[in-house]
């Protein structure tokens, strides 16, 4: 289950990196990619939550869940601005991406360890 979550989040991170290039270039990101990014991230977080609630293993990955949830909250804020045709703050988009990428690295380290 964790592997599924990691794959989904990795897809979200990859698409997020693509979207970040639009934000940094001050262009309007393509909405199909925005929706795919958001959907992959939400599904990944939900799978991770399901794992945490059902596993009997010692490490339930609550730490990664919290990191991704913070990234998701920032993501919702960014999306709400983008969809209303308002400027998306570049620095916040970078922070959002960094938290997501950091979370992916964090969970990978724990899985591979």
């Amino acid at each position: 289950m964790v592997i599924t979550a990691v794959i989904l989040i990795a897809i979200a991170v990859f698409l997020g990196g693509y979207l970040l290039t639009y934000v940094l270039d001050q262009k309007i990101p393509p909405k199909a990619i925005v929706f795919a990014h958001g959907t992959a991230a939400i599904l990944g977080i939900l799978v991770l939550l399901t794992f945490a609630l059902t596993t009997e293993r010692h490490h339930k990955h609550w730490d990664s869940f919290i990191i991704f949830s913070i990234a998701a909250l920032v993501g919702f804020y960014l999306f709400s601005r983008d969809i209303r045709h308002k400027n998306v703050p570049k620095w916040l988009a970078v922070v959002h991406g960094s938290v997501g990428l950091g979370g992916l690295a964090w969970i990978l380290i724990h899985i591979l360890h």
């Binding site: 199909a32 929706f35 045709h85």
Partner: protein, 501 residues
């Protein structure tokens, strides 16, 4: 180029543009039938009004409508009855009849020259497939004390299986009525400004409406703009559709007055007559589709012409035009205070907007004068009707999601500007961005972002109206990007043509 018979034949108004800063009790945005009737009633009651119209009075959807006024509804009363209940459907019919009566009173009181007349309304089926629909409507209409009669032939040369006739409905020239009424508004209480497009509403303690040449500060605002301007949750319950109309000049033939609705679902044609001097016209309307989701918009005019020539001795098609309507999720319009305090709206009229527009004005007049209105609860804008709305809500919002998903990198109508013919527009991807590019008749290119300024959907070229139409919430823009109608406040973002192409 399209033009409506109403806008072309009604006398023009000549109100100034806003120039400076004003304060008022109530500001009304929109000079169509809703805005002007509301301004008339509120000014008559002593309220201080400023009305701002982006173009000219009745230059929007009112002037592009059918000119029919009736107690029945587009979706049929028996649908309202089955979705809601008998009492609700009866109240809809009664409230709408009252609105038609008000129009008649105003026409008579002010002697407005708008060809108002009482006519019968017919609903017919050409084949026996739709006889059940007619039977249901006969039963429903009889419940609401409407003078109903069953027929098996019509006074027009259309063969029918079954038909229903309801006496006492009405027709007029809507642009002539609205422009005529605008001239009769008490000018000590109401100032009207044309060519004064509101591009922003600042929601502070009071509401500040900004135009390019001035501001209006108001305690309350009425959005008489067909659909509310800006972003509202209510837009998830409003679904934009377009419909087409032609006015065919008749060479010969006697066509009795009436509103004729065909139940055949595929094209949903309606017919009516109109006389201008010695010229007799038959108006043929139909061809519903979602805004911005067709490939060939002009074909609808062809089909209407085909229908007109099938039944009548048509000389020429002198006018053709199209109009937008917003279907509500639960079948009834939304009228009253919005989720924003002190901002009132009237929307979701479907194709029954002339009558609902007048009814909205009556309701808003009572509400803003702190009077009870017997219909205000029925049409309350903030109502929550999940069971009655769910089916339409899910279907239509999935459709909106689908439109967003079409915004894929690398996918566009054309690969280069060279593929765009004169007088045409196409979406082209330039530097990873979608541009809405229009080539005018002289070959000059007009480039703007194809991203709708309301909620970021990609606009679609409408070849019939030469406009960019948003498939999500119905915002429409001129070929050069300026807002025509819909919830968007701002024009499409301009883009400089890249010499690289």
């Amino acid at each position: 180029m399209t033009r409506s018979i109403w806008k072309s034949t009604a006398p023009k108004t000549n109100f100034p543009a806003l120039n400076g800063n004003l304060e008022t009790e109530i500001a009304i945005i929109g000079g169509g039938i809703t805005g002007i009737t509301a301004a008339y009633l509120l000014a008559r009651s002593g309220k201080k009004i400023v009305l701002l119209e982006a173009g000219t009075i009745s230059g929007g959807t009112t002037g592009d409508s059918t000119g029919n006024l009736y107690a029945m509804v587009d979706k049929r009363l028996h649908h309202i009855q089955s979705k809601w209940d008998k009492e609700t459907a009866a109240r809809v019919a009664r409230s709408r009849a009252q609105a038609v009566n008000l129009v008649e009173e105003l026409v008579n009181e002010h002697k407005i020259d708008c060809s108002f007349k009482r006519v019968p309304w017919y609903l017919f089926s050409e084949t026996d497939k739709k006889d059940k629909t007619i039977e249901k409507e006969i039963d429903a209409a009889a419940n609401y004390n409407l003078p109903v009669e069953e027929l098996h032939e019509l006074p027009i040369p259309v063969k029918v299986s079954t038909a229903i006739k309801v006496e006492g409905q009405a027709q007029f020239n809507p642009a002539a009525f609205v422009r005529g009424l605008a001239e009769k508004i008490d000018s000590t209480n109401c100032q009207i400004f044309e060519n004064s497009e509101v591009h922003h509403i600042e929601k502070e303690e009071e509401l500040v409406l900004s135009t390019s040449s001035g501001t209006v500060t108001a305690k309350k605002v009425i959005l008489a703009t067909h659909t509310p301007k800006g972003i509202y949750g209510l837009q998830t319950a409003l679904y934009p559709y377009r419909e087409y109309a032609i006015a065919a000049k008749l060479r010969s033939g006697n066509f009795p007055d009436g509103i004729y609705w065909d139940t055949e679902a595929d094209f949903h044609t309606s017919l009516r007559t109109y006389s201008k001097g010695n010229d007799n016209y038959v108006l043929v309307l139909g061809g519903h589709h979602k805004v911005g989701q067709e490939d060939d918009y002009s074909r609808f005019f062809g089909k209407l012409e085909q229908n007109a020539r099938r039944y009548f001795d048509v000389d020429e098609i002198e006018y053709k035009w199209s109009a937008q309507h917003y279907k509500p999720a639960d079948g009834l319009p939304y009228i009253g205070e919005s989720s924003d305090e002190n901002i009132y709206l009237a929307t979701g009229f479907s194709t029954d907007g002339l009558t609902y527009g007048v009814l909205s004005a009556m309701i808003l007049n009572d509400q803003l004068n702190d009077r009870k209105n017997e219909w205000s609860d029925l049409y309350k804008a903030s109502r929550f009707t999940p069971i009655k709305s769910t089916k339409n809500f899910i279907r239509e919002n999935l459709n909106v999601a689908k439109q967003y998903l079409k915004d894929i990198p690398g996918k566009a109508d054309a690969e280069s500007f060279k593929e765009i013919a004169a007088g045409q527009g196409k979406v082209v991807e330039v530097d990873d961005e979608k541009w809405a590019v229009y080539k005018d008749e002289s070959g000059q290119l007009h480039c703007q972002s194809a991203v709708c300024t309301h909620m970021d959907c990609i606009v679609d070229w409408n070849d019939a109206e030469k406009s960019w139409d948003c498939p999500c919430h119905g915002s429409r823009f001129e070929a050069t990007g300026q807002v025509i109608e819909g919830p968007a406040f701002s024009p499409l973002d301009k883009r400089n043509m890249n010499p690289k192409e």
